[in-house]
Subunit: 107 residues, 2 copies
Amino acid sequence: METSHSGDELARILATLANPHRMRVIAALAHGRNYVSALARELGISRPLLQLHLAKLEAAGLVTAAFELSHDGKAMKYYDTVPFAVTLTPQSIALAARTLTTEEGQS
Amino acid sequence: METSHSGDELARILATLANPHRMRVIAALAHGRNYVSALARELGISRPLLQLHLAKLEAAGLVTAAFELSHDGKAMKYYDTVPFAVTLTPQSIALAARTLTTEEGQS
DNA sequence: TTCACCTGCAAGAAAAAACTAGCACGTGCC
DNA sequence: GGCACGTGCTAGTTTTTTCTTGCAGGTGAA
């Protein structure tokens, strides 16, 4: 359920999703939530790298993080997807472009 | 009318749209086709820079180019938008992620 | 204590993208 | 000819993003 985004928000969302690693993260989390280290092993990438991508996904509002204690008392950081739905058309892009703040306003 | 894209195609489309200049190009062309120099003036950016962005938009299949002779015999390169429609959800991302070719295949 | 697991952060290297400046070519018109 | 307009290209710089390496902290269990 997505309302319209500002141009900057949309640009950030698109830039965030336009990355193979992050697409795979979304794919992995779509099957169910998971914690950082396990996710890194599942995807076959280093943990710091995964944390970088997760931070970007969270900053774009595409995933959420929640701490949870495991049965043996360890603090695990679980990530999950946020159910988003963005439709891209020339018109939706044009609409979003009106609210871009990158340099100069519009004409 | 968009069918499903491969993971790489989708990544390229998103990366292409995730740029303020290119969003404004789409917005400008959505109002009607235009040629390079006029478009550069309208957007207030240099022509080489615009050509770079137009090349990326065309490579992603989001705009098309066509040469046309002006009344005084000059060869003008007109660009126009391609009517695309891409919907992004965690599921569509997950589906596209299966066909990513960046490094290693899938599990 | 030592080991295995979890987390976080930051500095520096490597790669990719964005942008500028400048050149080439062509045309019609004063 | 000189000027204004259209096109294309390329080399080099700047900026951003991506990724690695390495270290810090914490817990429970053998």
